[in-house]
Symmetry: C2
Subunit: 215 residues, 2 copies
């Protein structure tokens, strides 16, 4: 432990090394702890052990930092979904594989919402459109797809497996996404938290039943 109170992060060199990365990491940590409103530029610099204005070498404004943090959060959502998709047995019959894939997307989404509430809220708070394929690699998962695209791919499988009539496919992601997103929001940032609480995954599976049947 350094006895001097000043530098929270010991630095051997005058230059930081990778301050941009450090600020982004601090911002993600803040989002994890307190959601989008907690992504405060001054606090990020404090955690990086740097003067407040040093941030302006790497981000044009607090907004720019928040945007980068949001992209990272979105990427984390995508990775959680991909992890869940990876558990779907590859030797399933096409119909079962398709259904299981859709469920996996939903389950991964809900799991992430519950495990990383702050990041989840940061990822999906007001602002820019994420439906458009975004070349920014921070916003996507390992497979290069956004959460929205992962859902779309899973729904496509329903069609190609012959379970979903092609004419129902357009816009189906809005319906499935709404169901799962609503449950997540009502539980983690709304009135259903105290009511559902730990039963969220269980309710989530029932919700996915409804989606599967109703799509």
């Amino acid at each position: 432990m350094n006895s001097r109170p000043q530098p929270p992060v010991a630095r051997s060199t005058y230059r930081h090394g990778d301050l941009r990365r450090a600020l982004l990491d601090a911002g993600v940590e803040l989002a994890r702890e307190g959601g989008p409103d907690a992504v405060v530029l001054r606090e990020a610099t404090r955690r990086a052990g740097v003067a407040p204005n040093a941030a302006y070498r790497h981000f044009a404004s607090q907004q720019a930092l928040l945007k980068a943090v949001r992209a990272a959060s979105l990427s984390a959502v995508a990775k959680a979904i991909e992890a869940e998709l990876a558990t779907v047995p590859a030797d399933l019959a096409p119909a079962d594989f398709a259904r299981a894939s859709v469920r996996a997307v939903g389950t991964g989404y809900l799991r992430f919402a519950q495990a990383e509430t702050g990041l989840f809220r940061t990822a999906f708070a007001l602002s820019d459109d994420l439906a458009v394929p975004d070349p920014n690699p921070e916003r996507v998962g390992e497979t290069g797809q956004s959460p929205y695209q992962l859902l779309g791919s899973a729904l496509d499988k329903l069609v190609s497996a012959g379970i979903m009539p092609p004419e129902r496919r357009p816009g189906a992601e809005f319906l499935a996404w709404s169901a799962v997103h609503g449950l997540a929001m009502l539980v983690i940032d709304g009135p259903l938290g105290p009511v559902i609480g730990a039963r969220m995954q269980q309710v989530g599976q029932r919700l996915l039943d409804m989606v599967e049947k109703g799509l």
Copy 2:
């Protein structure tokens, strides 16, 4: 027009009359314009034409004001749902009436979310549990029911009309609410705003089809 710049609201008497009401109204207006974060005590007093600290005669803190505003917002949601329920023809066969009632709850909810974005976000932001029947009359609609209870009553009709097996009834409000709430949030405060935009009501009806079929 009063030419003096100071008092935004002309007051003939020294006493305000009903400052509590005025502050609450100002708070609701702020919520309408900017959501829960916009409910700022100083701005409310400014709009009421009163010194900032005058608010403390009527609200213990900013939190207390926000809580009152939230209750009023929730009441507004309930009234919107009731208005939609009132359009359901009373002479429908029980099964049709039940189905139409559930749809009306969803439609009213979505309509309100789109028409009164700020109030909607204020009503359902993080905090206390609204499932418990609340005696506070500010939180409910004309019929004395909260939005959650209105949904519950509509679902009960599905059971008594024989459309929904009773064993599926428990927890059904979580599923229906999630679907509709998710669409609302994704559109008004999330990434689907630019994508769906004005088509929200149309997508909403399709979403309600899914819920109806999937419940």
